[in-house]
Amino acid sequence: MSAFSESRKALAESLEGIGYLVYPYPAETMQVPSIVLVPNSPYLEPITISRNVFQQNFKVTLMVAMNDNQAALLNLEDLIEKFMDVLPSNIKIDSISQPSVTQVGPSNVLAVDASVYTQLVKE
């Protein structure tokens, strides 16, 4: 398994530690609360003059049910805090977007996108 796959897998396993569903891709129907982990753009950036060291960027979408506006925001903030607590030390948070209402399948969810990254040496 490549260093990139191992890094992505380690992040997914850490997120599963929250106890919510973690989707490795945006599925057609998704239960909430849940987390979607996808590569961000650019996914991989060479950062040194060698071609061995890369910054690997991910987008992590955190979603909760949008039944009641105030409660949904509280639930989302709880999820954000749990997300920050389980992140491995080598994963850095770049930013977390403004919460927004998104339609997933038949239902609305309140979601934020967290941009995170890590730096690793290609094997």
């Binding site: 040194t48 003059i49 060698s50 061995n52 060291v53 040496v121």
Partner: protein, 139 residues
Amino acid sequence: MALTYTTGHDLVLTIKLPSTGTAVTFVDVCASATLTMENEQTVVETLSGRSYKTTAKNATLDVELYQDWASTSPASVCQALWTAATSYPDTAHLAVLTAGGKTFTFNIFPAAPPVGGGANDVLTTSVSFVVEDGTITVA
């Protein structure tokens, strides 16, 4: 030889530091490396016009590094530079920069990399090394 375009990824920089005893390769922590050579030129105004005389050469190697203080495998480049700057400040060290198919060989005096940075930034540091006598051999 036909013209080939190169990028920063084609650079290779090694510095032989006494603290490590061997040539340290910078390619895995180095974000950029620039070797600059300038002539120190005196302009003399004479009755017959201007006359130019180069009296000295000055050169610097400017390097931007990712801070790798805690790294043991590979050994920290920042730590090695710090040790060289504090223990051997007046000893020139052999440096070799390969760029565009040419090898630039020169001696530099060590400099300690600045430590720290912004909260949200990946920590980098910029080091400017003085080249001994401004002398660079190109092969």
